[in-house]
């Protein structure tokens, strides 16, 4: 049986992976259909019904402007599910390329890049991202770029160590002996063998990216209003948590469930790739 089919069988047997995918699928459906599946208009103010507790009309209650929180939680999935995956993908592509190059070529380049990566890792990532966003201005695009660049060294480091192992295998020597150039060896010979590691690393990073974007939104440097984003909602309402818990709890729960879903998928994928 082919490896791909064997892995598919393993994937179908993995409860972790299935549960994670179901959670993820739920939020993707919310993100894709947004206002078409919300029971009420999540953007409409209702100043006569501000801060009303959960009820049969407003399942998750309403916020300070009387907007329906249940609808806003569904709407809030969209921006974060665009920004976080794109940022992760960007970081993975750049990180994998960088890891391949420094891991295969080694030498001075590797030394320099590795030290820079270590130096970057010593800084708190949120602060780095914050400074970068303060400098270039905040928008969904800049958030994607900044998180992508912050993730690049992290993924590069993981890929680099996998490449170091691969470079010592004889098939790389065989490729050199038939005159293949460095680029061909890196991207044609080695890349397919480190790709599973890069993919698992990417899903790990996706979990972090969701949290990262939510954090940035919370402090006002991430996704911008009028988006129904969860991080913004939490920022707007956290001072009310003592009396009006529903204004914060459901958005926080949504963020948490998305991160958990992604992490379950990560664990599931890692075990599938191990088989």
């Amino acid at each position: 049986m082919s490896l791909a089919r064997e892995r598919l069988h393993a994937a179908l047997r993995s409860a972790t992976l299935i549960v994670g995918l179901l959670i993820l699928a739920f939020w993707v459906v919310c993100a894709v259909f947004g206002s078409r599946i919300t029971p009420l208009d999540g953007y409409a103010d209702d100043l006569l019904a501000t801060l009303s507790p959960p009820s049969s009309v407003h399942w998750f209650g309403t916020d300070q402007l009387g907007r329906d929180i249940f609808s806003r939680v569904i709407l809030g999935a969209r921006d974060i599910l665009i920004v976080a995956p794109l940022a992760t993908l960007l970081g993975t592509v750049f990180g994998t390329a960088l890891g391949l190059v420094v891991g295969y070529l080694r030498g001075t380049l590797d030394d320099v890049v590795s030290r820079v990566i270590e130096a970057l890792q010593a800084l708190p990532l949120v602060i780095v991202a914050l400074m970068a966003l303060a400098a270039v201005g905040t928008s969904n695009t800049t958030v994607v770029l900044v998180i992508g660049f912050v993730f690049t060294p992290l993924i590069a480091r993981t890929v680099r160590s996998a490449v170091l192992v691969e470079s010592d295998l004889d098939y790389v020597a065989a490729a050199r002996l038939r005159g293949d150039g460095a680029a061909s060896i890196m991207f044609v010979e080695i890349l397919p063998n480190v790709l599973p590691i890069a993919v698992v690393e990417m899903t790990v990073r996706l979990g972090y990216a969701i949290f990262f974007v939510a954090s940035l939104s919370f402090i006002g440097f991430g996704i911008q209003p009028p988006s129904a984003d969860w991080g913004i909602a939490i920022a707007e309402n956290y001072s009310l948590i003592g009396s009006y818990w529903w204004t914060v709890l459901f958005d926080a729960g949504a963020t948490a469930s998305l991160v958990i879903g992604v992490n379950l998928v990560t664990d599931g994928l890692a075990s599938v790739f191990e088989t």
Binding site: M1, H9, A173, A174, R176, L177, R178, P192, N193
Partner: protein, 555 residues
């Protein structure tokens, strides 16, 4: 008294995907107390499965689907877990193929050995360590105290295997299972370890189940021998009888695969067994060996031969008396190495050497200190020659191979010439024609083939070197594949679907793809089994024949 191990009509199946595959079929054998029993066969025939079944330690997808296993008279299949655990710690021990993997790399030897005594004898601390030191001196380790303080990586392979053997023997088990205990070791170390095992066998009087692909080792070590083929025991008997007068065609064929000393490459090719080892469990209702058997008849293809006893030897063949016809006449003849033929020497003086080295040296820097791996090697090699380089591991064979190929850079003052032209030291600086001229067949076929590519791609990429594209490339590819006896089906498979021997053939086909003039071959036939180990050699020779090449053979 009961046998140390008795296996009765054992069936073992593995579940892969959704299908069950029967890897051992109706296996029966008995090992008496104090006896050493050898189980031989090609890789993939079920030897290791039999060993793991004997301690009821199969992989998760494997299960015993029929038959009984009795250790010391106790039925393993009906033992409660606690008893089974006690039996495993006290009555049976196992020594695995790769000593490096059997030891925990992050624990000192002392800690690992003490653990055995703590579990088995309830000793603590100093007392356990003292017993460990005692055991180490019994396996002829000169300074037990020092070894106890070492980590596994600080010991050589031979030393590691001694430690494992010491651990295995420390509970004085009734049954010792040795699963290819010397496969990963150098020839000289192998001899020492085998001698040690034989001596300890005398001393401890354990029963031994010795699993090996090496007929010579088994013949030397064992009282009785069982030959396993595709999950079936095809022959069994006293070692001298089985090897002296085989009663099964497979055994006879195996014996013909063993090269004799002194037979030269041009004195006939090594015998190989045609065809492939069938997947275990894929054949039923007929003889498992019929497809590859020279004396098979229609009857063999219609019904499965029962086990019969002929003069004390068990054979699963309809024609046990005819097997001997197949044994090579005069296999042991021509023992003295024949002198280099005069013609070969004559041709030397006339021409330039194809490959020569002058003062080839290599010094590595190991934690700041220089370590000379190779010192002023000067060689001349002519076209058509095969030069064998022999040496223990660490003697510099690999360094020499790497230098010749340009995979590592020699010290200043070294020189490599190919057909009178000085070669740049780095492969990346060599011209395509120079690269093409020197190719290698790697020692470890698992690492030599890119696991994400199909065989077609693996060989095809090397054909670009000679500028072949499109239909011409496909035709040359088929030709190469056929010359190393790879079938059409194999071309679309990936390395993990191939056995060790098949992988090595792909490596050989690849090395010959550019039609090289010099070929470096780091052979380590011991890493594979007899059947396939041998046939990669004539395959390489077939592929190489037309070009008038030079071989460097590292062993």
């Amino acid at each position: 008294m009961s046998d140390a191990l008795r296996i009765e009509h054992l069936d073992v199946t593995y579940r892969t995907g959704r299908r069950d595959r029967r890897v051992l079929a109706d296996l029966s054998l008995a090992i008496r107390r104090g006896e050493s029993y050898g189980l031989v066969g090609e890789s993939g025939c079920g030897k290791s499965t039999a060993a793991f079944a004997a301690i009821r330690y199969l992989a998760r997808n494997g299960r015993v689907s029929g038959g009984r296993i009795l250790v010391d008279g106790r039925d393993l299949m009906s033992l409660p877990p606690e008893e089974l655990r006690r039996l495993r710690t006290q009555s049976v021990s196992m020594v695995y193929q790769d000593p490096g993997r059997a030891l925990n790399p992050s624990l000192k030897i002392g800690r690992q050995m003490a653990e055995v005594f703590e579990a088995a004898e309830g000793l603590r601390g100093e007392a356990a360590l003292r017993r460990a030191a005692e055991m180490l001196s019994r396996v002829q380790i000169a300074s037990p105290a020092r070894v106890l303080g070492n980590y596994p990586h600080e010991l050589s392979g031979g030393m590691q295997q001694r430690v494992i053997i010491a651990m295995a023997l420390s509970t004085n088990p009734a049954l010792l299972i040795l699963d290819e205990p010397t496969t990963g070791l150098d020839a000289t170390v192998e001899a020492e370890v085998l001698e040690l095992i034989a001596r300890l066998h005398e001393e401890f009087k354990n029963s031994i189940l010795f699993i090996s692909h090496s007929l010579a080792v088994v013949a030397h070590m064992c009282d009785r021998v069982g030959v396993l083929y595709a999950g079936e025991l095809v022959e069994e008997g006293a070692a001298a009888d089985v090897f002296g007068s085989p009663r099964h065609p497979y055994t006879a064929a195996l014996l013909r695969c063993v090269p004799g000393y002194g037979r030269r490459k041009n004195q006939g090719r090594l015998e190989t067994i045609p065809g492939f080892l069938p997947a275990p469990g894929s054949i039923s209702g007929r003889c498992v060996f019929a497809e590859r058997c020279a004396i098979a008849t229609d009857r063999c293809r219609r019904e499965a031969p029962p086990a019969v006893i002929v003069e004390g030897q068990l054979s699963r063949c309809f024609y046990p008396e005819r097997a001997q016809e197949l044994a090579l006449p005069g296999a042991a003849a021509s023992v003295a190495p024949s002198p280099l033929a005069a013609a070969e020497i004559g041709s030397r003086s006339k021409s330039e050497p194809l490959l020569s080295t002058r003062n080839l040296s290599k010094t590595y820097q190991v934690s700041g200190k220089p370590l000379q791996a190779l010192h002023a090697v000067t060689l001349d090699l002519w076209a058509g020659e095969t030069l064998g380089l022999v040496g223990e591991s660490g003697s510099g064979k690999s360094s020499l191979a790497k230098l010749l190929l340009g995979l590592s850079v020699p010290d200043a003052g070294s020189e490599i010439e190919l057909a009178g032209e000085t070669l740049p030291p780095r492969a990346d600086d060599r011209k395509p024609a120079q690269l093409k001229a020197l190719q290698i067949v790697f020692q470890n076929p698992g690492s030599a083939l890119n696991r994400s590519q199909t065989v077609r791609r693996l060989i095809g990429r090397s054909l670009r070197l000679v500028g072949l594209y499109g239909r011409a490339r496909e035709a040359r590819l088929r030709e190469l594949a056929a010359s190393v006896r790879l079938t059409e089906r194999h071309l679309d498979e990936k390395p993990r679907q191939l056995s060790g021997g098949l992988k090595q053939r792909v490596g050989i086909a690849r090395a010959f793809a550019g039609g090289p003039r010099g070929r470096v071959r780091r052979a380590h036939l011991g890493a594979r089994c007899v059947g396939s180990g041998r046939d990669s050699q004539p395959a390489g020779r077939t592929a190489g024949r037309p070009a008038g090449q030079l071989y460097l053979h590292f062993a």
